[in-house]
């Protein structure tokens, strides 16, 4: 009974302080919305309008038609017309263009012969995404009207895009972004909330009162669980309204998965708070976890494409498992039970981090 009233005193104190800390309070609401707007609109893996220069040495009817066709494809945005391939290389080196199209003087004959490539495309291959887009151009038909068109060979492999037939990036990004935003706020807020109390000396006072360390830790964490749920609702709302990202599976499952994930991050935040001495160090540690959570979790790059050791690292991050859950539930209409390996991983992570944090927290007093 007393324990419950102490717990509620700590929760209410925490909420009161949070509501007075305008910046933090603004971050709770503003951060998810701003990040959603920013990344939702900005990140686009479906690349279009590559800056392009053309060196048309053939200058025939066919080659001009080809260039017009290229411009209409939206893949290339033709900015320059130059005389020689050397100038293409030059523009490429200066970073003025991403793609240079060289049409040799015997273009028409090459099209008819069709045993040699008719067109050469020079690409800034340092960005693999651009290279990938340029490769799509290989399947572009070239021909005198349709009669002379080289017959496109029937594809041996047909690809049917499931779950995101329009190939819209936000559909892939938003479920992952949920994990990133929650990682950032949950982990950082918890770690900072505790370290700040230690820095200000509040903790020295509190450990001399009848408040137990369990009451203190739970009391500090509860407001952030609620904040996490609020953020999740905000992200889902913005995702639905602006980016038309569906929630095909059960919303209950999604919140269950989020609860698990929030618990994992809060445990990690608590653990960080026991490892560092200042708020600044807490922030550094958060960034240390956050970067791999973005790069190695499957959020930015497909998990399967990563080298084995990076996959192992990725498996250690809660975000990796959460992204599997959210993409599964939101996009593929999977149930949380079908995604049980990720659920188990998150549960194990939380237990381990919490145990470590609790053991270090009590040691701190001695």
């Amino acid at each position: 009974m007393n324990s419950l009233s102490r717990l509620s005193a700590i929760v209410r104190k925490e909420v009161r302080q949070l509501s007075r800390d305008r910046l933090t309070f603004g971050m709770v609401v503003g951060l998810p919305i701003i990040q959603m707007l920013l990344f939702g609109f900005a990140i686009n893996t479906d690349v279009r309008n590559l800056k392009t220069a053309v060196a048309n040495e053939a200058n025939t009817h066919l080659s001009r038609e080809f260039i017009a066709h290229l411009g209409q494809s939206q893949v290339a945005d033709i900015r320059y017309r130059v005389a020689s391939p050397a100038e293409l290389t030059e523009l490429l080196r200066r970073g003025r263009i991403s793609m240079g199209v060289h049409i040799p003087h015997d273009f028409d004959r090459r099209v008819v012969d069709s045993d040699r490539a008719a067109v050469q495309i020079l690409v800034d291959g340092s960005d693999p995404t651009i290279l990938g887009v340029a490769n799509q151009l290989r399947s572009m038909p070239i021909g005198f009207d349709s009669a002379l068109a080289t017959p496109a060979a029937a594809a041996a492999v047909a690809v049917r895009p499931f779950y995101n037939p329009e190939r819209r990036t936000p559909v892939n990004i938003v479920p992952g972004l949920m994990g990133i935003i929650l990682t950032m706020t949950m982990m950082l807020f918890t770690a900072v909330a505790i370290v700040r109390e230690r820095e200000r000396g509040n903790l020295e006072l509190l450990i001399n009162t009848p408040v137990s360390s369990a009451e203190l830790m739970i009391g500090k964490v509860i407001p952030y669980i609620l904040i996490g749920m609020l953020q999740l609702a905000l992200i889902l709302g913005v995702g639905e309204l602006l980016f038309d990202v569906p929630v095909r599976g059960s919303i209950v499952d999604l919140y269950l998965a989020a609860s698990l994930f929030i618990a994992a991050n809060l445990a990690l935040g608590l653990l960080i708070s026991t490892l560092v001495k200042t708020q600044f160090q807490a922030m550094q540690m958060t960034v240390f976890v956050l970067l791999p959570s973005i790069l190695l979790s499957g959020f930015m790059f497909p998990f399967d494409g990563m080298p084995r050791f990076a996959q192992w690292l990725g498996e250690l991050l809660p975000n990796t498992h959460f992204i599997r859950l959210t993409r599964g539930i939101m996009l593929r209409e999977a149930s949380i039970a079908e995604l049980y390996p990720a659920v188990i991983a998150l549960a194990v992570f939380t237990t381990v981090a919490m145990t470590l944090a609790a053991s270090r927290f009590s040691k701190r007093l001695d």
């Binding site: 007393n2 009233s5 102490r6 509620s8 005193a9 700590i10 104190k13 009161r16 302080q17 007075r20 800390d21 200000r200 000396g201 509040n202 020295e204 006072l205 509190l206 450990i207 001399n208 009162t209 009848p210 408040v211 137990s212 007093l365 001695d366």
Partner: protein, 313 residues
């Protein structure tokens, strides 16, 4: 026996690795009195206080606080002691009223009496017209009064104060001590650590700690009567030159300069110390007046913290 004492400790020691923070400390703090811990920074004052309230586990020794063995039932003990930290440790972004409310809640102070108790404390500690002010925006003296109000809210039998006045002006310190005496009068035992001599002087009893060892224990008067030293005061126009001469006088243990005065400690086994020193100064041709005077607490402190060095020499 244990009814007369709020704190009894025997052979209390705390080691941090190879560092001995507190070494075989014996302590008996009478109930309803103000007991002072005097010593320089790092002498083991805070460590001792933390062991007594169950925050640190002693490496060796036993202690009984308010009849409870420590470390033992820390939860019961914490409900009966009040603790005031060296640094202001309440919540700066909450008002005085909210801070007191919070403390009342975590000490489970009876709900229907809370309002009355908080109003009483705000009144007593001159914070009644600042109840809505955020604690962080107050002056050092006001913060300290709030901290004391929070520490005594649950009516503890024992109050532990760890250098409570280190960030406070002299006037606020006087007021603060008046409040402490009122608390002691009402039956609260107070253990206060300090490195101010004038504060130590006000305590009913005093223990002087030096590098983890208790080097003196008694009432301030007993300690002053019992230094085993003569105190000689020299008034000289050129105190620096006089100091050189006096330091060379056989038996002189310590010379402290205070403006144009020198305070000299010399063992009381030496007869006529003032005359000896006067003779040396005259021989050196330094004009000065010399007189025997009574020991102050500062002299006691110098005398007892010098002893171990002498023994080693």
């Amino acid at each position: 026996m244990s009814d007369a004492y709020a704190i009894e400790a025997r052979g209390l020691s705390k080691h941090f690795g190879s560092l001995v923070a507190v070494d075989k400390l014996d302590l008996a703090v009478p109930r309803g009195r103000i007991y002072g811990f005097l010593g320089p920074n790092g002498c083991g004052k805070s460590t001792t206080i933390r062991m007594l309230c169950g925050l640190l586990t002693p490496t060796a020794g036993t202690a009984t606080v308010l009849g409870i063995d420590v470390p033992g039932d820390a939860a019961t003990l914490k409900a009966r002691i009040g603790y005031m930290t060296q640094k202001f440790s309440l919540f700066g972004d909450m008002s005085n009223d909210e801070n007191l409310q919070f403390i009342a809640e975590i000490y489970s102070y009876p709900r229907r009496d809370r309002r009355r108790r908080i109003d009483e404390l705000l009144e007593r500690y001159d914070l009644a017209d600042r109840r809505k002010q955020l604690a962080g925006t107050m002056s050092g003296g006001q913060k300290q009064r709030l901290a004391l109000a929070c520490a005594v809210l649950h009516k503890p039998d024992l109050l532990l104060l760890d250098e409570p006045t280190s960030a406070v002006d002299p006037q606020s310190r006087r007021d603060f001590w008046a409040k402490l005496f009122a608390l002691a009068e009402a039956g609260t035992t107070i253990l206060v650590s300090t490195h101010y001599m004038d504060e130590a002087e006000r305590c009913h009893r005093l223990a002087i700690l030096d590098r983890g060892v208790k080097v003196a224990d008694g009432t301030p008067q007993e300690l002053k009567d019992d230094t085993g030293m003569h105190v000689v005061e020299v008034l000289a126009d050129d105190p620096f030159a006089a100091q050189n001469v006096v330091s060379a006088v056989p038996g002189v243990v310590s010379v402290t300069q205070l403006g144009i005065r020198l305070r000299i400690l010399i063992p009381d086994s030496i007869a006529e110390p003032a005359e000896r020193i006067a003779a040396q100064l005259e021989a050196a041709g330094i004009p000065a007046s010399t007189a025997l005077t009574s020991a102050g607490l500062e002299d006691v402190f110098v005398a007892v913290t010098l002893k171990p060095k002498q023994a080693a020499a």
